[in-house]
Amino acid sequence: MDRKIQVEVSSVADIVAARQKGRALAMELGFDGSDLTMIATAISEIARNIVDHAKRGTITFTPTHRNGARGILIVAKDDGPGIRDVTQAMQYGFSSGNGLGVGLPGAKWLMDDFDIRSELGRGTVVTMKKWLRHDQFTRNKHGAGD
């Protein structure tokens, strides 16, 4: 199960592919119900951010763990123009383009951990994680043992 999935993102069709692949891995890891929808929606927002601002980039999905908890690690990376003011970009309703200004702050709300690093002229890296709730984790372990 410890596999890493990488998706190239350079078109609107890739946004759909990225969220479907991320969702599939999350399901494999034991996420269910609204967690799957939240993960897929967060992926959609950060993938669109790549297409809109950097044109192309990659998103990787990796199983992760911390102190006995299991989860999914999602890293979106691009070599685009970077974000001048990350604090401003993370403000709800602020948009440099023609979007709603909901994407990045929204993705943060949907996930458990969220980190964004950006350097002008170098690109942007968004790192986000979602952790399995205890019941999802134990159900998954039992399921794997059957």
Binding site: V16, S34, L36, E45, V102, G106, W109
Partner: protein
């Protein structure tokens, strides 16, 4: 994948069949806008039952579809938003303000019936 649009009397029914990319969504918007004129439709239902993600772009596009069609004289109802999708939309702070929403197609038709009541001619 383009969204099929069915004409039923004074209404158009757009029934989403699979995940929509941003370009599918804008295509749907443009098709509905032109077909409302062609068929002189009074109401439009967009059935999103199969969608497992309605993100900020989809919300913005659905909202603009409804507002554009209103300017063209037609009422829009979005039906079939799944519970998990509604949950994620609320988490994202996304609303469909000013847009009719109903549980399913049946409720959507009833909704349009009420809204367009006085204007709909009797059927055959």
């Amino acid at each position: 994948m383009p969204v099929p649009i069915l004409k039923q009397r004074d209404y158009l029914i757009a029934s989403v069949q699979a995940a929509l990319s941003d370009s599918d969504l804008t295509e749907l918007r443009d098709n509905l806008s032109s077909q409302v004129g062609r068929y002189r439709s009074r109401g439009v239902i967009i059935d999103v039952t199969v969608l497992d993600v309605i993100d900020s772009f989809a919300t913005r596009t659905l909202r603009s579809v409804a507002h554009m069609l209103k300017l063209r004289g037609a009422q829009t109802v979005i039906v079939g938003i799944q519970p998990d999708v509604a949950f994620a939309m609320v988490q994202l702070g996304l609303t469909l303000e000013g847009v009719g929403t109903e549980l399913d197609l049946e409720e959507g038709l009833a909704h349009l019936g009420r809204l367009t009541k006085r204007r709909v001619k009797d059927g055959p």
